[in-house]
């Protein structure tokens, strides 16, 4: 039986939670900061994150707020949550920002704070740390969005007989201020129709 499912869509000029648009005046990274201040506000580390992690972090927090999880990971259910994300450009945006700090021989100051984000799976860690999730965390770098492939890997996360839910979705950032994000929560036993739901939302994301 198909269960009601919640989702969040964020891109450079749009924030949508279960079909409702959230108010914002800014776009790009400034929009993420605006949403953080309006709806989250208690995790200053947000400002140190790269665009990929900021987009993933804000999307996950908006989703948990929608599903009524004010503080995740405090009970056994959310502690057994996995985080499974997908994207095409991996950490390209952070890689480019970091490269700029080492491209000039006369101004060669590699930034440690930028370097730590030069792996795409850092976003999964940021979310898991915040939520105290102790399940599997994965970031699949894929050639193109593929709902069947995404649904397959999300389903695989339940094979361990421990995972109760999966925070799943798409997060991609080619450049600063340019990102596409779709997050949803999938519970054990609610996989029916998942591929179609993912396909419908992803078509809406204009990737």
């Amino acid at each position: 039986m198909e269960k009601e499912f919640s989702y969040v869509i964020l891109d450079s000029g749009r924030a949508v939670v279960n079909g409702r648009s959230l108010e914002h005046e800014q776009t790009g990274n400034a929009m993420l900061a605006e949403l953080y201040r309006a709806h989250i506000g208690d995790w200053p580390k947000f400002f140190k994150m790269d665009t990929l992690s900021k987009a993933g972090f804000v999307a996950s927090e908006l989703l948990f707020k929608e599903t009524g999880e004010t503080r995740c990971g405090q009970d056994e259910f959310t502690a057994h949550r996995a985080v499974v994300l997908f994207g095409t450009t991996a950490s390209l945006c952070a890689d480019t920002n970091y490269q700029e700090t080492i491209s000039d021989r006369d101004n060669y100051y590699p930034s440690p704070a930028l370097f730590v984000y030069t792996l795409p799976n850092i976003v999964t860690g940021e979310i898991a740390i915040r939520g105290h999730f102790r399940g599997e965390t994965s970031f699949y770098v894929v050639e193109r969005p593929d709902a069947a492939q995404m649904a397959f890997h999300i389903a695989c996360a339940f094979d361990d007989d421990v995972t109760d839910s999966v925070l799943a979705g798409w997060v991609d950032s080619r450049r600063n201020d340019d990102f596409q994000t779709f997050f949803t929560l999938v519970e054990r036993g609610a996989l029916e129709g998942l591929e179609d739901r993912i396909r419908t939302i992803m078509n809406n994301l204009n990737i």
Binding site: P44, P112, A113, V116
Partner: protein
């Protein structure tokens, strides 16, 4: 020295992306790590880069940072005594 401390606080806020922190929020004698600003090990590395980039101070022994980054006052004092630019 006061001017130097204010400039240093502004630089710290900028390089560590302490978005909602103002220079006045940083107590000159408060520890930068642990409590206080809640900085972490990556922030310590950024402060080492800041000292080299802005003041020409190359810390040969990163462990020394623990002493130098005790507070803004201690850091400013160290910079003033060791700066090459």
């Amino acid at each position: 020295m006061e001017e130097m401390i204010l400039k240093l606080k502004q630089e710290i806020i900028e390089v560590l992306n302490l978005e909602d922190v103002q220079p006045d929020d940083i107590n000159n004698d408060a520890p930068l790590f642990g409590e206080g600003l809640g900085l972490d090990s990556i922030d310590a590395l950024e402060l080492i880069v800041l000292m080299e980039k802005n003041y020409g101070i190359k810390l040969q022994d990163p462990a020394k940072g623990k002493e130098i980054f005790k507070s803004v006052n201690v850091m400013a004092d160290y910079i003033q005594k060791n700066r090459t630019k």
